[in-house]
Amino acid sequence: MLRATDIAKSFGGNEILRGISLDVERGELISIIGPSGCGKSTFLRCLNFLEHPDAGEVRVEDVTVTSTGQWNRTDEARAHRLRGHVGMVFQSFNLFPHRTVLENVMLAPMQVKRMDEGRAHKIASELLEKVGLVAVKNRYPDRLSGGQQQRAAIARALAMKPSVMLYDEPTSALDPELSEEVLSVMRALDAEGMTQLVVTHDMRFARAASDRVLFMEAGQIVESGDPDVMFANPREPGTRRFLRTLL
């Protein structure tokens, strides 16, 4: 349902992504791990074209965007369509500070999808219920804990009914208990069949919750597979080195 083919990206002559391909099945939860600076975030951001790849192709549902390095209006229009199927959650939450939690969730459905207020309100309320934020829905983001903010951000992304969710280190800015609030929301989504791609440094979560783990190094996917197998018995020396430093 999401297929990335030969994604390449350089920043100022440095090759950050060296032709990455990935096939994601519907309902999968995939963790992407790897050393800092290996290109995990860049890869994720290429999947919804927050970053424009130099080459490669991304297909989500029925939308395919092929990147040739020159980014033009047609590409942007296609990327826009593609983003309609992709939700994203950031390490720093990025809630809109001038709007309440409820308004944060309702904004995109009403403005982008032209949904009427009643319907948007209903959807937002259900999502906030699901992530456990009904009690604080009328607060501004600055009155929420980090864990609450990240859950609000997840609800905001879900309100657009994406078929795949991308997370870039969703819990790195949070204390362990607060992380758990967020991770449990992600597990619940997994149970409902949501497709999720998670860049994470939380190896326990990667091992316990993922259907598949990808190990990235120097702009490439070096090893991928079943988490238990990979954590117990890494094939590649790079993976072994990385896991050893963590444990």
Partner: protein
Amino acid sequence: MKRVVLALVLALCGFLNVTGLDGRALAEDMVAEQAKAPAAPVAPLRVPGATDDRDLPWASDGEANVPYVFHDPAHEGRMTGFEYDLMQAISARMGRHGRFVQNGWDGLIPGLSRDLYALVIDGIEMTPEHKAAVLFSRPYYVTVDRIVLRKNETGLDTLEALKGHVVGTIKSTAAERLLLDHDPTNVRSYDEETNLFSDLKNGRLDAILIDEPIALYYLADDLKLVGPPIGRVAYGIAFPKNNPGLRDAVDSVLGDLMNDGTLHQILARWNLWTPQMADYTGDQTLLDIKPTAWADYRQTMERMSGSSVKAMVHRYVSFLPLVLSGALMTLGVSALAMVLAVAVGLILALARAYGMAPLRWLAGLYVEVVRGTPLLIQVLFIFYGLPAFGLRLSPFAAGVLSLGLNYAAYEAENYRAGLMSVPRGQMEAAIALNMTHMQALRLVIVPQAFRTVVPVMTNDFIALLKDSSLVSVITLTELSQTYIRLSSTYYDYIGTGLMIGLAYLLVGLPFVRLARMAEKRMGRVVAKGHH
């Protein structure tokens, strides 16, 4: 400063205008000759600025311009003065309604070439420089310069005797030229009569050399006129160079008014009929006319400028309507200009931050040019310069436009700082939510930028409120202009100053409070960023 403005205006007009269509400068006697010729049936008069075919709009600077054209201290809202009376007589004789148009001294001649009115009368000396710029009528008044001293002073009664003493006069006058030729290092030139006379009283000057009518009317109890008349000064009515037809018509009426004694009567009422006028007109009769206008003026001034509580209360109460209308003008111009500045500033800031290359470049150029040139020049350029390109704005529209476009440049920078203070992640989150760039700007970025910008913007509005005093150079009577007028009419700088200052504070107060509120809310937004 006033004269600098005049120089600017003239330079601007000279630069933009095709020079007068009719360049011939007529000698005075030639004019006289023409006037004597029997009035032939002429083509219909061209009367610039006229609203109908009976209207005769004429301009003067009626602020503190005693005894020429000035606000009647006894009846606020009414004009008077010997030139005012003369214009009434001329208009009536021409079968028209004279209509006084107020314009600042520096704007008088430029306004003439802008066709804002048909003619200018304001004690304009018929010097060669002036003749190069306008067409003059025959002189309607000839006078002399006189020396004014403090009562206790003696001896300084000739130009010779004045040598080595500090002498004050008004800028760009015959008296100034006389003094400069004589003893240039000790000349002090003033824009305004009021300041000139107070400086003589308080000892900053040893003497004043000035046109006799002014000397007569500004002479206070502790001052005196001394010595024989000096030099000769002739005042003429000014017309645009391309309208000799109207000039000739007015000249012929002036001739009639001199011959039938009307001018004599007017001047006598103002105590201004002099031996020089008798010689000039050849009218040696002695009319039995009481100087009633002169006496009324002296009386009213004594009553109004008295320092008794009653006089003061009377004076300040009579100022109230003027201060109110000045405050409304200040507020109106400022508020509209600010709305314009906020809107245009936002467009400029967005163009600079997110526009295509040429747009970005143009917006940047605009901001630099506008911030790098004086507001005064911009005001004058828009009012007097743009008509050359076919855009004629009313003074009010020109004032709003120039202030608004000027402050737009500052607001643009303000917004730019605001836009840059919004974290990158906000744009990315909006794009990830499938908003377009425009939606992201409109719904996410600009509202946040706006919140950080509002307190600064409110402070800018206070600054704009004060800068709005500059629109007085294009004939708008706002608070500052009201102050100049009232204080110089009554020699009362302190009381009037307090009143006008209070008016500024009252007008600005709501906005100061608004700024406080905005700052408080802004504090919250900033706090959010630190969580």
